[in-house]
Amino acid sequence: MGSDEAYNFVFKVVLIGESGVGKSNLLSRFTKNEFNHDSRTTIGVEFSTRTVQLRGLTIKAQIWDTAGLERYRAITSAYYRGAVGALLVYDISKHLTYESAERWLKELYDHADPHIVVMLVGNKTDLASVRAVPTEDAKDFAEKNGLLFMETSALESTNVEAAFNNVLEEIHKKVSSKEVTRGSINAVSLSNPKSQSEESQEEKKPCCKNL
């Protein structure tokens, strides 16, 4: 996943949600196929990339993982800049983490691009025996708010690929359609790896072009 491989797009995706819902493990499962039950708490920001093939295109996904504790929200807005996708994660076995989804959503729309693709993700389906959030409730909530929805288990590696790929595909759809105005989603870059210079990721040169 070096920075010099060829790709058509770079999409920045952020992981948000309460502390302990499994954001970091979703990240490591998707980018490294790793799961660590005792992963360190995220303080500040973590990130990782993975390059995926979607409909013949090479997409480099930059996933940013943030600290979930309320207190860190004061500084997380900086992480949202340039994000074109977000996974809003809750823990299906902890209702409180689901209840805060609305707050997170508001936070996200306050700071991120209005066209950002958001997926509500109910993680830890491996704990189905102690499920506290019914799938239907979450699905309804997602529909009402125009979010994608999926349940995952980073531990059992269930739906993790699907969730990320789904989001990446939606982003690509938006980018390809006229829905995204020039410069609105600015981290997307139409790559040309040889000249992959800083400009291609910056606002200076909006680069949401159709292929």
């Binding site: 799961f35 660590n36 005792d38 708490t41 303080i43 500040g44 900086a78 704990l127 800083e198 990721q201």
Partner: protein
């Protein structure tokens, strides 16, 4: 010497949630060290634990990252430190430069915990608030904080033998210390970055001492870092960035060009005092200096790393773009974090308290212009041990070393320097005297190991020790120490 002390993972009173139920799944699935090391609370074999207590290379503590101090030098330093600790107030007031120099050289591992307690003023706080920790410890705590703290217990240095076991003694103490802090400062509560700070302290001292050191770090060294709104850390981010302009214009220009907000890279560095970033040998040396000289050390480490990683055009060519730069900063090349190199750079970097204070005022003014008043009024920052002591002068009694294990020495051969040591959460302490062959009366039933053993393993056995005459316990097969603390040092 780094013995695996786990085994009490089953006696947990702390971690009683669902987590345990997923354990077995995690073990099948995981390819990490953490999960399978914790089965039944037993860490794996001794051979995998390094001299700092880390299992399997988790904190970049490879041999090359650490400088070895010859045992004879360590012995001499121990004697000097014991002398200083015996008249601490005088040393800090009158010979502060010497104390600073000795902290820069590195505190001997066997005395590091005690030195930190004295440097931070935690010792004075503890004496002036006797019984306070026990009182807080016995209270229930606000469920709102306890819930978050519990979630974090197994996520601090999960590769350190002290914290590897779910509900093991390390995690239990961490819980006690963090909970006590939320009761001590209910308006502050708990902030996640406090956990690694407390964990580092607990690797060196019993819970009560770690609590008072944590209080001092949160209130004197890094006030406001952990408060709601995280304004102090954002302000320090701006200060760091402004100082960088002078230290490395190229790095400054690059970060500015790519609009990389300081909080994107410095939050973890500063909030955890680099404890999660540097190789362990460097963490300890940085903390030795940080607790003596204050936050300027943290700034200097940050500046050195930024300068090394982004300081030349050549280096910048390979990290064009925000993400690439962030990646670079997260994966600092080991050579720049190597103990000898890093400490030298820190000492040499001309960034003073005054520079920081000046920049603080400038950034505060800017903050007020653009964002209004600070919401959280933090106490003023104290730049190190001397400032702390000057602000609240201790009495002699506060600084007195009061061992709880008294080793009776034969009257005739009374040591001229009653070396004492305090260890162990079980409140067992001891006084050491010249004769290592003395019988010890200890209330403790623990297996105690040698606190004066040097950090590197093969330690000369008892008898070959003319060097060791100042450190009488050296080599005694019944020497006293905390099973938990000193063995890691």
């Amino acid at each position: 010497m780094a013995k695996v002390q786990q085994g009490n993972g089953l006696q947990s009173g702390v971690s009683k949630s669902l987590r345990g139920t997923t354990e077995s799944l995690a073990d099948q699935e995981s390819n990490s060290f953490g999960s399978d090391n914790e089965v039944n609370g037993f860490a794996k074999t001794e051979s995998q634990t390094d001299k700092y207590g880390f299992i399997g290379g988790a904190q970049q503590h490879t041999g090359e990252s650490a400088d070895d101090v010859p045992p004879e030098v360590l012995r001499q330093r121990e004697v000097k430190w014991l002398e200083m600790l015996n008249s601490w107030d005088k040393w800090i007031a009158k010979r502060h430069k010497k104390v600073k120099l000795r902290c820069q050289k590195g505190i001997p591992p066997s005395l590091r915990g005690r030195a930190w307690l004295y440097l931070s003023g935690g010792k004075v706080k503890r004496e002036q608030n006797q019984g306070k920790f026990q009182e807080l410890d016995s209270q229930a705590g606000d469920p709102k904080w306890l819930d978050v703290i519990e979630k974090d217990l197994h996520r601090q240095f999960p590769f350190h033998e002290m914290f590897v076991a779910r509900g093991g003694h390390g995690q239990q103490d961490l819980y006690r210390v963090l909970k006590a802090y939320t009761l001590h400062r209910p308006e502050e509560g708990y902030c996640q970055a406090q956990a690694p700070i407390a964990a580092v302290l607990l690797m060196h001292m019993p819970a009560e001492d770690a609590f008072w050191c944590l209080v001092q770090i949160c209130e004197k060294y890094l006030p406001g870092y952990y408060s709601a709104g995280l304004e102090a850390i954002q302000l320090d981010g701006e200060i760091l960035f402004a100082l960088l302009k002078r230290v490395s214009p190229a790095a400054h220009r690059h970060l500015k060009k790519h609009k990389i907000d300081p909080i994107l890279y410095m939050t973890e560095w500063f909030m955890c005092a680099f404890s999660r970033t540097l190789p362990w040998a460097s963490v300890l040396r940085v903390w030795d200096m940080f607790l003596c000289e204050g936050v300027k050390i943290i700034f200097r480490v940050g500046l050195v790393l930024l300068k090394c990683m982004l300081g030349s055009q050549e280096k910048l060519k390979t990290c064009q773009g925000q993400y690439e730069t962030m990646e670079r900063l997260r994966a600092v090349e080991p050579q720049y974090m190597q103990e000898g190199f890093l400490i030298h750079e820190i000492i040499e970097l001309p960034v003073t308290e005054r520079d920081i204070e000046k920049e603080h005022h400038a950034q505060l003014r800017r903050w007020k212009e653009t964002r209004g008043e600070l919401h959280c009024k933090s106490p003023p920052r104290m730049h190190g041990a001397r400032a702390i002591m000057e602000a609240e002068p201790p009495s002699r009694r506060d600084l007195q070393q009061n061992p709880t294990i008294i080793v009776e020495s034969p009257p005739a051969t009374r040591s001229d320097e009653g070396i004492q040591d305090e260890t162990d959460k079980g409140r067992t302490r001891r006084t050491k005297t010249e004769k290592s062959k003395e019988k010890r009366k200890s209330g403790s039933t623990e297996v105690l190991t040698n606190p004066y053993a040097p950090p590197s393993d093969p330690q000369p056995p008892p008898h070959d020790a003319p060097l060791l005459k100042d450190t009488p316990l050296q080599g005694s097969n019944q020497s006293l120490s905390s099973a938990e603390q000193d063995t890691y040092l």
